[in-house]
Subunit: 245 residues, 2 copies
């Protein structure tokens, strides 16, 4: 298999975060056109936005705080399947060979919280010309019931196991921003942006960007953070937003 591109569509990009379980159809259709125009192996991952987060917080489930309540697992997984069907449907309408992949079916965490995500199904889909579309989900977690598996965590795991060529994160902002709100064009080491991102301590007050940058720096593939307007440029091989490498 040639090395795929991994594209994350942030939950805030594909849903209306202010309205529960509402897809941003117009933006999703525009993103789908960009994805359908891509030539080459591609994996898409989308976040939960107004679908997953509501159910996750209602059930008190996070990446580390689990629940053994099957209704919590079904509620979060079901809402994310609904969103996935909307995203896969939009991609299909635009002509992309999109197929659904539900991480709760595939992944597991051990007692240390370490994720296992077998690559065989997604790799075979790619080889057969499909575009697998994964999403943030719950995951069975030894000793915890289920915990949250975020879209960002999936991107990092897939990029590593599939030997991704490039990783793109389409977010609500046009890149990683410095203290003045300007896009940082390139990050080669965490300490270059530690001050702007709130330092290197473990408390992540910036809504996940610091943790995201750290994880992306650890990948072999270059990663880019950009907004919805730059998806086509990224998929065409361009270098929009912030390059993290």
């Amino acid at each position: 298999m040639s090395s795929p591109t991994v594209l994350k569509l942030g939950g805030s990009v594909v849903t209306d975060k202010d309205a529960p379980e509402t897809v941003d159809d117009e933006r999703l259709a525009a993103l789908a056109d960009a994805v359908a125009g891509h030539d080459g192996p591609l994996v898409v991952v989308h976040g939960g936005g107004s679908f997953g987060h509501h159910h996750a917080s209602a059930h008190g489930v996070s990446r580390t705080e689990g629940s053994g309540d099957p209704a919590a697992a079904r509620g979060i997984a079901g809402a994310m399947e609904d969103l996935n069907r909307a995203v896969v449907g939009a991609l299909a309408d635009a002509g992309a060979p999109a197929v659904p992949v539900h991480p709760f079916s595939l992944a597991a965490r051990d007692a240390d919280g370490d994720l296992s995500l077998p690559a065989g199904s997604v790799a075979t889909m790619l080889d057969e010309g499909f575009v697998p579309v994964l999403h943030g989900d719950v995951v069975a977690h030894a000793g915890e019931g289920v915990t949250i598996l975020s879209g960002d965590e999936l991107v990092v795991a897939l990029a590593a196991s599939l030997g991704a060529e490039r990783v793109g994160l389409c977010s609500a902002v046009p890149g990683v921003l410095d203290a003045d709100g300007a896009v940082v064009p390139r990050i080669g080491a965490f300490d270059e942006v530690a001050d702007a991102l709130g330092g290197s301590d473990s408390t992540d007050v910036t809504g996940g960007m610091a943790a995201k940058v750290r994880e992306l720096l650890a990948l072999d593939a270059p990663a880019y953070v950009f907004d919805a307007d730059a998806v086509a440029e990224f998929l065409a091989g361009g270098e929009p937003g912030t390059r993290i490498d």
Copy 2:
């Protein structure tokens, strides 16, 4: 993990085979009560019935004949997700800790058609007290696009990889029937029933019972074939229908 029981609910048992995409709600509710009363690790697998088979034949997809058309993959997988949601919902309503597992997300076939079905997600769900509910589905198949992954094939693969204690197949008939239509109480070798099942040649004119018996004989665990009235008896440790061992 203690050894689970694997229970297959045939597609003809949970759906009305004569009406497209129609669940047999009454029978499903009765089966769900039996499942909810079970104590101990349990995996449920259901067939496609009037959901999967229609889409599969409309797209010309079988266990060996594949399709590279993403609309075929989405159509079959989507119909089976719908049926799975109905089955998981009925089990949940009855009080079983059921959660959905979609085999298309999890499995793959290599170029020889051999199935790989990583056991980690299902095993972790079992350890956490959930009842994973899988279903017949499509599966990415090297060189073929997608082919069909039957519920029976899943049962055999899961029983082997999870070290199942017992396997039950709830079908439309009360057991494996001899040439006179009577239930054969026990099958220890294929040649005992070869005549009644249409011989040992590769053409399976009996709707799959010959192939099913052969695969079940190869398992370490005893397998039972029975009808919907006997599910509670099987789950309570009884030996209804035909024992294949």
